[in-house]
């Protein structure tokens, strides 16, 4: 899957692909640089099982951002998409890449055949204001807090950010 999107740096459009087994090392390296949490092999195994729910973002041939999601279907509950990881390497932030990645994910989710996905949600560490503001710009709201969510981080608490996907059209204002 190759999708090219124009961003702020119009000269160098981001190129999106799906995750594949051969580049999993790159994603691991990216996530290790971006996130304080370590994701183990079982995480990547499950991600590889549903590559269409991932997006890798390449800038001038270099992987600078990646997002991995899960679809959650509980009995008698409408489907939700959980954004497990979404990150951009630090030197490449504030260029709109994160926004493009998020829009890519949400568009992909809403064009999935079958069930309608009603909600997108994710976890953000309570002190990560930058991340929280980023998602709020894209129509997410803090729903509630989960204490001691992170086993090894300080602070251990997290916010749950939620976005309702059933409203007409994605509402992103970034």
């Amino acid at each position: 899957l190759f999708v090219v999107a124009m961003g702020e740096s119009g000269m160098h459009p981001l190129v999106f692909t799906e995750m594949s087994a051969k580049v999993i090392g790159q994603v691991k390296a990216l996530n290790a640089a971006v996130f304080p949490i370590h994701y183990d092999d079982s995480f990547y195994d499950s991600v590889l099982a549903t590559p269409h729910l991932t997006r890798l973002a390449y800038h001038r041939g270099i992987l600078v951002g990646a997002a991995c999601c899960r679809l959650e279907r509980e009995a008698n509950q409408p489907s939700k998409v959980y954004i497990a990881t979404l990150g951009v390497l630090a030197p490449y932030r504030s260029m709109g890449f994160g926004s493009q990645l998020l829009r890519e994910i949400l568009t992909m989710v809403q064009s999935l055949g079958g069930e309608t996905v009603t909600q997108a949600y994710l976890h953000v560490q309570v002190n990560n204001d930058e991340a929280r503001r980023f998602y709020e710009r894209h129509g997410f709201c803090v729903s509630h807090e989960i204490p001691n969510y992170y086993v090894r981080l300080v602070p251990a608490d997290c916010h749950v950010l939620v976005k309702d996907l059933t409203s007409a059209g994605p509402s992103s204002s970034a």
């Binding site: 740096s9 580049v23 790159q26 001038r60 270099i62 030197p91």
Partner: protein
């Protein structure tokens, strides 16, 4: 006798060995002492893994019929299969004594003669073959090539001339490539024989026949140069540069032609010429890069500044390797270092290069800074300041950890520091970044072997072989003639004192080179430019002797 052995022979040629034995046995029942059938049966057996019996039978057949050319021929074939060419040649000669005009034997003999580099014998045999069957095109070419190989250019030229003349009766549109190659080969021989004017004449007269347009121009240019017609050569090279300004070979010849016209090197003039070339071909890299070679001091600084930042802006990973030859010049090295360090600090604070006259100031993308760090790492490695180099590569890795080149460069760096295990580790990390990249796979395997992790090296290298790691891995690597792998593994065993295993590896390399030489035998009939090919192979063998056998002797 001939028709008696025919069925056995036929089955042998068709490789239907069992049937061949049956046919032979049927004959031997009636004529148990028929030498030729015995010999043929022996030959067939030797192809069926019953070599000893086969050889015995052939010898028996020979005793029964020592004047039979078939027996001698077969005996020769057995020796050849054993790579005992000296004996094989003797057998063939005996076969020819019985039957002077046996083409098959003559051909087999000629192959071995050239294998053994018996050029005189080869030429003579080839002459005989040509005399026997002049209607066969390849016989003419082979004889000419044989004379060429033996240094007898005159005869070779005559033969080719006669052959070319015979072709004029043919339809000129047939086999255009072969005709074209023939012309070019004739010129090659004439040049080697010293008749350069003659060579040029052929080229000029046959302009339309030569289909390889580029080769035609290149030949003309080269010949004009050799003849001392320098201004004409210059014109030719200029037109070649117009076709392909990036070809450094053309540039090298071009410069020689100019310098000869000037009566010696003249850097000032050269810079002038190349300044013009740069203006004429603004998108071409070669003139800009060559100007870095010719200029010095401040002029060098300005040119280098423009050149390097353009390539950094593009994000070209091979930038350092491109400018590396400049590092022989201490002054240039310190100029470059200053430039690179200025880039780094400017990009870090402003996301832009320092201002430069005539160059538009643009905001750089973040990866440019990473490429500068990468460049600095390679720079300091090259001038043996490994610690500084490591600091830069680590910073680059922290900046953008998803770039493969950073890992392989760090591995190389660590190797230079003597940390072979560290190098293997980082190369493996890099390999995991792109499992489909064969180059990084090779590097990871190489560094593993350098760190004496032989199993790991093998496991890594086989990933890109046919079966990808299952089953008999080593044999797949062997089939692929993976010489670098065998040599490095051998060296590793050497370091760890496992001389037997090391020897095994070097012998595999030796076998490959023997195969190279063997395989050439099949090609030579089809390859007019064989002369070049041969020189290359001898060179390879010499290299092999140097490389593999140096260690071989130590291991023995």
């Amino acid at each position: 006798h001939l028709f008696l052995t025919r069925p056995t022979q036929k089955f042998y040629e068709l490789k239907q060995y069992k049937k061949g034995i049956k046919a032979a046995d049927a004959i031997l029942k009636v004529f148990p002492d028929h030498g030729e059938t015995l010999a043929m049966k022996g030959l067939t057996l030797s192809c069926m893994d019953q070599k000893e019996e086969g050889v015995e039978l052939v010898r028996k057949g020979l005793r029964k019929d020592p004047r039979s050319n078939v027996c001698w021929h077969v005996y020769g074939l057995l020796y050849r299969a054993d790579h005992n060419y000296v004996e094989a040649i003797k057998c063939y000669r005996n076969a020819l004594r019985a039957d002077k005009e046996n083409l098959q034997v003559l051909r087999d003999l000629s192959f071995l003669q050239i294998q053994m580099r018996d050029t005189k014998g080869y030429a003579e045999t080839r002459r005989q073959i040509l005399a026997l069957r002049p209607s066969n095109k390849s016989h003419w070419l082979a004889y000419a090539a044989a004379c060429h190989m033996g240094g007898d250019m005159k005869t070779s030229t005559r033969v080719l001339q006669a052959y070319a003349d015979s072709l004029t009766d043919e339809d000129p549109t047939r086999a255009p490539y072969e005709r074209s190659e023939l012309i070019l080969y004739r010129t090659m021989i004439l040049v080697e024989g010293g008749d350069i004017a003659g060579a040029l004449e052929i080229v000029e007269n046959n302009k339309d026949v030569i289909v390889d347009g580029l080769a035609l121009r290149e030949e003309r240019a080269r010949l004009l140069h050799l003849l001392g017609r320098l201004s004409e050569a210059e014109t030719e090279y200029r037109s070649l540069l117009e076709i392909n300004c990036e070809c450094h070979e053309y540039h090298a010849h071009f410069r020689k032609v100019l310098e000869e016209q000037w009566g010696g090197p003249d850097p000032e003039k050269m810079i002038g010429v190349y300044d013009e070339l740069e203006k004429a071909f603004p998108h071409s890299l070669a003139p800009k890069r060559l100007l870095l070679d010719f200029s010095k001091g401040d002029a060098f600084r300005t040119r280098a500044d423009r050149y390097v930042r353009a390539l950094l802006h593009k994000g070209v990973p091979s930038l350092f390797m491109d400018i590396r030859p400049l590092y022989n010049d201490e002054e240039k090295v310190s100029i470059l270092e200053r430039l690179f360090l200025d880039y780094a600090s400017s990009l870090q604070s402003n996301m832009a290069f320092p201002p430069l006259e005539g160059v538009e100031a643009v905001k750089e993308t973040p990866d440019t800074y990473m490429w500068v760090l990468f460049l600095l790492a390679q720079h300091f490695d090259c001038i043996h300041e490994q610690e500084r180099a490591l600091a830069y590569i680590d910073e680059a890795l922290r900046h953008t950890p998803t770039v493969l080149e950073l890992y392989s460069t760090k591995a190389l760096l660590l190797k230079h520091c003597g940390d072979y295990e560290g190098a293997a580790k980082i190369a493996e990390e890099g390999r995991l970044l792109d499992l489909a990249d064969r180059f990084i796979n090779t590097e990871a395997a190489y560094f593993a072997l350098r760190a004496d992790m032989v199993d790991r090296g093998e496991q890594t290298a086989v990933i890109f072989t046919k079966d990808g790691g299952g089953g008999e891995q080593s044999s797949n690597l062997f089939d692929a003639q993976c010489i670098w792998y065998e040599t490095r593994t051998g060296e590793s065993y050497l370091r760890t004192g496992q001389y037997g295993k090391a020897l095994k590896m070097f012998l595999r390399v030796d076998k490959h080179f023997m195969e190279f030489v063997e395989d050439q035998l099949d090609f030579h009939t089809y390859c007019l430019r064989r002369g070049t090919l041969r020189a290359y192979i001898s060179f390879l063998r010499m290299e092999d002797r140097l490389f593999g056998h140096k260690y071989y002797r130590r291991a023995a």
